[in-house]
């Protein structure tokens, strides 16, 4: 499959996963069956990993917090980082987990209903792991953009209403 084509398709459904295959076909100037086939392939290859919804939870829970936790760990035995990662990512509170280069090892993104829940989770579930040497927790203040999408109100059209 044409790489440029599948990238354009991915860009479109990344923005709006509810576009129908007919709409995608029109936007990409191809037949619906080409879209069907391409989407199937991308799903099979696990390039498309799901069709989730972007939710501004801050509006649902006014106390909701997102925290970034840096973890410094000592990898154990021959399993190394992956086993520690598995231990961490099984918690539903863990929204995102990265292994990092640099001053610390893991970056854990947590989303909780309030600050207390975060501190509880960090102290009881993360800091208590024997591989964990230390943690640093940061709280986010305002979320402007997530996964490429703005959470702020759309800008006004600054153009004159009719121009030649």
């Amino acid at each position: 499959m044409d790489k440029e084509f599948s990238e354009r398709l991915l860009t479109l459904i990344e923005r709006d996963s509810r576009l129908t295959h007919e709409e995608l076909a029109r936007a990409l100037n191809c037949s619906v069956s080409v879209v069907d086939e391409c989407v199937q392939q991308l799903e099979d290859d696990q390039i498309i990993c799901g069709y989730h919804t972007l939710i501004n939870w801050d509006k649902v829970h006014s106390d909701a917090v997102t925290a970034l936790v840096e973890l410094r760990v000592t990898p154990q035995g021959r399993y190394g980082y992956n086993q520690i990662a598995e231990h961490i990512y099984q918690y539903p509170q863990v929204e995102t987990l990265y292994l990092m280069s640099g001053a610390y090892d893991f970056l854990v993104v947590l989303r909780e209903k309030n600050i207390k829940d975060v501190s509880l989770f960090v102290s009881e579930n993360l800091a208590s792991m024997e591989e964990v040497q230390g943690t640093t927790t940061y709280f986010t203040l305002i979320k402007y953009k997530e996964n490429g999408f703005l959470f702020t109100t759309p800008k006004n059209d600054k153009r004159m209403v009719v121009t030649p």
Binding site: R8, A27, N29, R159, V161, V162, T163, P164
Partner: protein, 391 residues
């Protein structure tokens, strides 16, 4: 007191767009599809260059023809995009928008009584520019059945012994029409045979859809030496407010254009020129992203018009569609006015772009998909209302 006004200016009709603008301005909740400029902001990296220029105190006049570095960048870009080589020192000028370049082109070449052939529908300022330069505009009515392309026999029929120049503007505002290489070749044959000058406004040159890149008339054999090529930054790089365009032409014409520009303008805005270097050298990706976005909207609108059973040829350039609404038995101005009153959607009557635009509407798709969906929902209501009342 004497009448101080110049008759040739007083005689000039006001732009049809202006009239409509005044009406729409009174309706703050109207959705406008009447805008002739991109909805994208100027890319940040281009804006940054302007900020840097201000901070570095690059706030003086430039050379009359524009910064040498910018002219070199323009010539490189032109060679890369349309395959025509120009000399940055003798064949290039940076102007205040494409508009100034058009004015310079006419004033540098027209003698009183010289006729300039202008195919319509077209952008509103070409005719007045020809008149102000002392020339006589001769319009050709393009046909929707030709997809608003200029046909050689139409050109031939408009030529008189006084004809000096042919003016063309493709991809076209307001129709969205393009001319492909084969169409241009036939026109060039007539142009060369009658020894005409061509002024070609290619400001929408980056915006063509369906795979075929824009072909410049200057790239065809024997044409560069008789063509004044107009382009600019407004549409390709979303830089309308920077007021920057350029012209490329044979040195003997360019010398005269630069002379006029030097007396009238001095030099184009310096800060904009620094930003424009960035656009020319690093802007291709931005243009591509915008082009893909426009194309997606264009396809969406074509489908919507088809669903609504409103005839429209498929436009392959710029960011306008030009549907035919003559079967509703209203003039395009009546249609646009009613649509605005009933559903608060503003589109521009085709008649604003020349008599032969009557019966058509110019709908701009320089709007987000959300806005287009909302506007077309309202248009659908209006069409249904018209059709029901007709029965």
């Amino acid at each position: 007191m004497r009448n101080f006004l110049a008759k040739r200016v007083v005689d000039m009709p006001p732009s049809g767009i202006r009239k409509f603008f005044d009406v729409v301005s009174e309706m703050p909740d109207a959705i406008s599809l009447g805008v002739g400029e991109p909805d994208f902001d100027t890319p940040w990296h281009i804006r940054d260059e302007a900020i840097k220029a201000i901070k570095a105190g690059k706030t003086f006049y430039t050379a009359n023809a524009g910064l040498r570095e910018l002219r070199e960048a323009i010539c490189d870009y032109t060679l890369r995009r349309i395959g025509v080589r120009y000399d940055p020192l003798s064949e290039c000028i940076v102007s205040v928008g494409g508009s100034e370049a058009i004015d310079l082109a006419f004033r540098a070449t027209l003698e009183p009584g010289d006729e300039v052939i202008i195919p319509q529908p077209c952008f509103v300022s070409y005719e007045p520019c020809v008149v102000m330069a002392g020339g006589t505009p001769v319009t050709i009515s393009l046909k929707v059945t030709d997809e608003f392309r200029l046909r050689p026999e139409q050109l031939e029929a408009a030529i008189t012994p006084k004809t000096k120049a042919l003016f063309i503007s493709y991809p076209n505002n307001p129709t969205g029409a393009i001319m492909e290489k084969a169409d241009l070749e036939k026109i060039c044959e007539v142009v060369r045979r009658h020894d005409l000058l061509v002024v070609s406004d290619e400001i929408y040159g980056e915006l063509t859809y369906g795979g075929e890149a824009h072909v410049s008339i200057a790239s065809l054999p024997g044409m560069k030496e008789r063509t004044i090529l107009i382009n600019g930054f407004s549409k390709a790089f979303a830089m309308t407010g920077w007021r920057l365009g350029y012209a490329l032409a044979p040195a003997e014409i360019m010398t005269q254009m630069i002379k006029l520009h030097q007396y009238e303008i001095m030099s184009a805005p310096t800060i904009s020129q620094y930003a424009a270097i960035r656009a020319m050298t690093n802007g291709d990706h931005d243009t591509m992203t915008m082009r893909q976005s426009y194309d997606q909207r264009r396809r969406f609108l074509m489908k919507k018009l088809k669903d609504l059973d409103i005839p429209c040829f498929e436009p392959k350039g710029a960011f306008y569609i030009f549907p035919n609404i003559s079967h509703f038995g209203m003039t395009s101005e009546e249609f646009a006015t009613e649509l605005l009153k009933k559903e608060k959607v503003a589109v521009v009557p085709g008649s604003a772009f020349g008599k032969c635009g009557e019966g058509f509407l110019r709908i701009s798709y320089a709007y987000s998909m959300e806005e287009l969906k909302e506007a077309f929902g309202r248009l659908e209501n209006f069409i249904n209302y018209l059709r029901e009342n007709k029965k």
